[in-house]
């Protein structure tokens, strides 16, 4: 299986630690991933708001390039990028006229039929094949850590587009975290929205939505929230002082990417995994919870 890798803009900027942890994790698991050459932004919700054609051609540029490079799958760790890839691919698959139109503006000479699937890293790692591999490599026992897994919007929703996991009660991250011992708690807010890009324009809305998430995580008894999307992470990690004021109680809850928790369990160092870049420092909790032998 030849995997292409599409980091996306956030992972080159504010969420560099997600990128670092994904790369080091795949290396630790001996899975080779190759950066998609010359990738461009997926256009997210901005491009399709300007023009339908732009909103389809922009993400499909990357998928077409992945096909050109001969990848079997293209990995996109940002669930917003992933949604736009899958959505655009589905739109052109359903309409030959639209497909011809997008092919013409892309002018890459790549037919947009039988495109390689785009996948979230969770889809690869939570497959049965990895369970024994991960079990063999575990170096730190995380069985004292109580956490909730937060999937946000696009890892599995909408099912028609994402075609992965359960859109209302996804399990892939829960499974993966349980493999390394984490006590994954049940909670009702797994797939609620964090407010995403409104952080830049309507921060009050994001604070409101994230306050509900923390309320729910605290009620479940979580010590940390585990995520798989750079926007979820940024919103939950960077606004805890404002959220604490709304909750009327102190809040200092580490928010970690599944790739960081997994990498940590497999023995990677907090530095390699980018723990220091978090606003809420996860290091004390993680060191306390794992029975560190070294």
């Amino acid at each position: 299986m030849k995997y292409g890798y599409y980091p996306g803009c956030s992972l080159e900027g504010i969420s560099a630690e997600y990128d670092d942890s994904i790369r080091s994790l795949f290396k630790r698991l001996d899975v080779t991933i190759e950066d998609l050459p010359g990738w461009i932004c997926c256009g997210t919700v901005a491009a399709p708001s300007m023009s339908r054609l732009l909103g389809l051609a922009t993400p499909l540029w990357n998928v077409a390039r992945a096909k050109q490079a001969g990848y079997d799958q293209l990995i996109a760790p940002c669930s917003a990028c992933l949604y736009h890839f899958k959505h655009a691919a589905q739109q052109v698959a359903e309409s030959p006229a639209l497909r011809a139109e997008v092919e013409a503006v892309l002018a890459l000479g790549v037919p947009l039929a039988s495109l390689p699937p785009t996948v979230h890293p969770l889809e690869i790692l939570s497959a049965d094949a990895f369970e024994s591999r991960i079990n063999q490599l575990v170096q730190r026992d995380l069985s004292a850590l109580k956490a909730v897994c937060y999937y946000g919007c696009h890892i599995s929703r909408p099912a028609k587009v994402m075609q992965f996991d359960d859109p209302e009660n996804p399990q892939s991250m829960d499974r993966l975290m349980k493999w390394v011992g984490v006590q994954v708690l049940d909670w009702p807010s797994k797939v609620d929205c964090c407010g995403a890009h409104f952080s830049l324009i309507k921060p009050g809305i994001v604070v409101d939505l994230c306050t509900r998430l923390f309320e729910s995580a605290l009620e479940a008894g979580a010590e940390a929230i585990i995520v798989g999307c750079p926007m979820c992470h940024a919103n939950l990690d960077t606004r805890q002082d404002e959220i604490a004021a709304k909750l009327g109680r102190p809040l200092n809850m580490p928010v970690l990417y599944f790739s960081q928790v997994l990498g940590f369990a497999l023995g990677l160092s907090p530095d390699v995994l980018g723990f220091k870049k978090h606003i809420v420092d996860p290091v004390p909790l993680m060191l306390e919870k794992c029975h560190l032998s070294a």
Partner: protein
């Protein structure tokens, strides 16, 4: 072309399939802030209430979380219909009723034209400057900077592919 057909042409969403169960409105995380709720947007599209839809805050407050689309028993995607309404509104020169969102989407695409990718801190800075939130966003910028999460903008040498695509789209849309 009737308004609902215009929406359909841009989004493949047939508003006539909606039977007004309002599951979309009940699922929307921002319904309480919208003037028209998602189910009302769908009904307005059916009724041809063009002005009401294109001037609504709903179409600009939609986060694209897709909860409405995921839960619709008729497999209609209100989020896609609202994205189509945004495109039509802009094409007609109707100012986005939530102006900050319009400024952000425009600035985002403009930033892509520099380098093919966006530089997140530039997009944030420009958006906050143009929406009058620059000063109030400084504490956040400082927090991110001191945690090594802001990078300097790249030189604009990499966006050739996207600019070509963007110009092709403009040319194609001018034809039609």
């Amino acid at each position: 072309m009737a308004f609902r057909h215009e929406i359909e042409a841009l989004s493949s969403q047939n508003a006539n399939l909606c039977f007004q169960c309002s599951k979309c409105s009940a699922s929307c995380p921002l319904a309480d802030m919208m003037d028209l709720k998602p189910a009302q947007v769908m009904h307005s599209i059916r009724l041809g209430r063009e002005e009401a839809v294109l001037n609504s805050t709903a179409i600009w407050l939609c986060l694209g979380c897709e909860t409405c689309s995921a839960r619709c028993p008729q497999q209609v995607e209100p989020a896609a219909a609202m994205a189509a309404a945004r495109v039509i509104a802009l094409k007609r020169g109707i100012q986005p009723s939530v102006k900050e969102v319009g400024i952000y989407y425009r600035g985002f695409v403009d930033n892509m034209r520099l380098n093919g990718k966006i530089h997140d801190a530039s997009v944030a800075g420009v958006t906050q400057l143009l929406t009058g939130q620059f000063t109030s966003s400084l504490p956040m910028a400082w927090k991110l900077l001191t945690h090594g999460r802001l990078k300097p903008p790249p030189l604009p040498f990499g966006g050739g592919g996207f600019r070509r695509l963007y110009n092709n789209v403009l040319a194609k849309e001018r034809e039609t």
